[in-house]
Symmetry: C2
Subunit: 496 residues, 2 copies
Amino acid sequence: MAWFGRFVQLANVKNSARPTNPNHFLTSLSHFSSTAGPAPAAAVRSRQPNLAPTRPDEKPRVVVLGSGWAACRLMKGLDTKAYDVVCVSPRNHMVFTPLLASTCVGTLEFRSVAEPIARIQPAISTAPGSYFFLANCTGVDPDDHSVQCETVTDGISSLEPWKFKITYDKLVVALGAEASTFGIHGVNENAIFLREVHHAQEIRRKLLLNLMLSDVPGISEEEKRRLLHCVVVGGGPTGVEFSGELSDFIMKDVHQRYAHVKDFIHVTLIEANEILSSFDDRLRRYATKQLTKSGVRLVQGVVKDVKSQKIILNDGTEVPYGLLVWSTGVGPSPFVRSLQLPKSPGGRIGVDEWLRVPSVRDIFAIGDCSGFLESTGKPVLPALAQVAERQGKYLAELLNSVAKAGGGRANSIKEIALGDPFVYRHLGSMATVGRYKALVDLRQSKEAKGLSLAGFTSWFIWRSAYLTRVVSWRNRFYVAINWFTTFVFGRDISRI
Amino acid sequence: MAWFGRFVQLANVKNSARPTNPNHFLTSLSHFSSTAGPAPAAAVRSRQPNLAPTRPDEKPRVVVLGSGWAACRLMKGLDTKAYDVVCVSPRNHMVFTPLLASTCVGTLEFRSVAEPIARIQPAISTAPGSYFFLANCTGVDPDDHSVQCETVTDGISSLEPWKFKITYDKLVVALGAEASTFGIHGVNENAIFLREVHHAQEIRRKLLLNLMLSDVPGISEEEKRRLLHCVVVGGGPTGVEFSGELSDFIMKDVHQRYAHVKDFIHVTLIEANEILSSFDDRLRRYATKQLTKSGVRLVQGVVKDVKSQKIILNDGTEVPYGLLVWSTGVGPSPFVRSLQLPKSPGGRIGVDEWLRVPSVRDIFAIGDCSGFLESTGKPVLPALAQVAERQGKYLAELLNSVAKAGGGRANSIKEIALGDPFVYRHLGSMATVGRYKALVDLRQSKEAKGLSLAGFTSWFIWRSAYLTRVVSWRNRFYVAINWFTTFVFGRDISRI
């Protein structure tokens, strides 16, 4: 006990805020009494988040479902002097999706594309009435102005999921969409999507695993080719950018670091129609050329069935694979479909020009989960980051002005003028097609005239543009550093 | 087919090295024939790693089991002109263990402490006769001069583990040790160790999960305290450094980013005897003082039982916890114990002064899995990175000189003089105890005189020393950048 005695004595001398006598220790341990006493008021608050209907002496509460582009841009723009913000999402960060493909092969690190919500809107972790809950929304009750939630327990058996209710003055549904499989059997079981950071992590782990397994003695050449065959289904920007990154990774890093197996690895991009259909014809030709040059096999085909080691096309062709990435666009999630709210064509939550959900009060929907109602005469907007972000920005301003006009509370909005409706103006599209090559299409629509270019300049524009779009300075800094180190040292291949 | 036709035509024009006609595509897909033809010789080699006994026209083969400090330092030092190197390990990277504790709370990123083996010894991924296999060694046959291996499949159901055999001219066993639980029930099930990157990842995910769950409405204060009670068992350098990092994380980041729950989170360090027992008394007192000041509760006690949400001490005290980290030292792994080789006191593989395993030929053992035989009259060395590294360096030089003297082949070593035996000289110990505070003890042993200091200077020495010890420039760069960003922007709290 020499050491312990000395420690006690020391602690006494220092008269630290902590208990110092051994017994007291153990008591404090067993009773778990708080030692550093917070100000009572604060303590009470922090002990029980009050999520009942807001009292006149409280700020009105905006509940945000989701943490994607739309939700985060909204929360960033909301005036936290006028509102308390409560965010509910199974993910405590926003993913900078345009750069996600680069993380799969280690061009960028995972954290460089993940932005903690608490940094986008610090109020949720500091303001007394604002919160972030790591939970899924399980139900919306428009009449009661409340949502039902259930905590994420991440499969930890010792944790019981908690159910709780949050009442809102304004509800913003920004739940995004989910990858569509078109009901093709085996996709969910065998393919990896590319929408979240953990998807990118899974792809990276599997790719490196296959590279190493394929080098094992006694493995047949056929099996080796299968393990090292990376198949990408879907020729949209995500699929194309991932294929480009992959072929770049193969040409640069695999040839250098996996010399034994470099001749067995191949990338195949399968698309039912045209790749990058939203882009200008010239750019599409350029992309096709670049991808082919860098060794990506472009195959036009329709997937019929997905087995654990091969996919089967409509024409019966069997394509063995070691890694299958699925990026064939998105659709509304089962939860969004299940909501008893008006729907837009395609099953998204239907909104009017002000992004309100009609027939219910104080509910708004933005991002991939929402679409204009047919009655608006406007087309459902594409599921793009820039649409979601623009909607988030617009709605933040709308809600702020509503609050100024005294319409922040539940059921108090109807007599307030909402100002201009939301109008979307497409700023153009960009996509990389591998090393130092990209497409930039600045036309507002496929038909419109406008600048469209391809090659190194576009690649430079692509990088600069995204670097400036990255949310925080920290990540901007990290992305730049990642690009620099990848350029200097090559990609990281440690499988962690 | 417009797009497809155009693509074919384009590809023809460009006359790329890839097949261009759609049918050919599908054939090449189904038959999986290689397209970019490698030089036949190379191809043959890469198709079937030859791991049979080496022929006179081949280099002798050194098989290395493990990828820790000892194994990696050895591979780095081996003369690849004299030897082919084959490394077998379930991990394709080396972990820079002294900085692992910093990654749990985001002071450093995981990749900054992981060094791909292919970067430490490029030959294993490029030289024709050298390989890295992601596999576990399942058996050693000294008479046959061969090892049995089985590939790691990472729980992927579609993959059958491959068994294969490697014959060696020289075998180096550097399998390290595993965390010891002293047979205490429930440790393996409920505690997290701190030896691998995935451990640090698990700790970080769990810590952030608990921080968020504890903020959920309706959760009892007792449960909140439990979730946010971080218990560290073991007062060695790892336990102390982790406790320090954790309290630093709490004081800096939790208070800022999790203001709602900041008053409920506590760290308790449980140690049966003295913390940092290898250090000078003065330093130990200093560490005790610092830890207490920064809010770490030091408890002297012995753990009797570990349940899923609480641990029970010998005196019956129950300590509820949300996160339990176990770092009470290491012992030989079951596989090492199972090997039919001479053993040192403590059950490690017994070696003589030249790190040879007596009674068998061409087998060496280094690092935490090995220890001097009693017959050598030398004490078993502590399981430290610096011991392992020094042994790896020594053995590399020994094997290189053996090769020069023509003793590289199996059974050809005995008549060759091995030169000076291995002598370990302790360079001293370092440990951080939280923000800007560290201990540096440069005495060669507890009894010896020598410099020992504590405080900011030591902290500076600690950082500089480790920064220079980091293996690659890439990671040195990243560690520096991480420290910088943590200093400027705070730690990253996105839970990915």
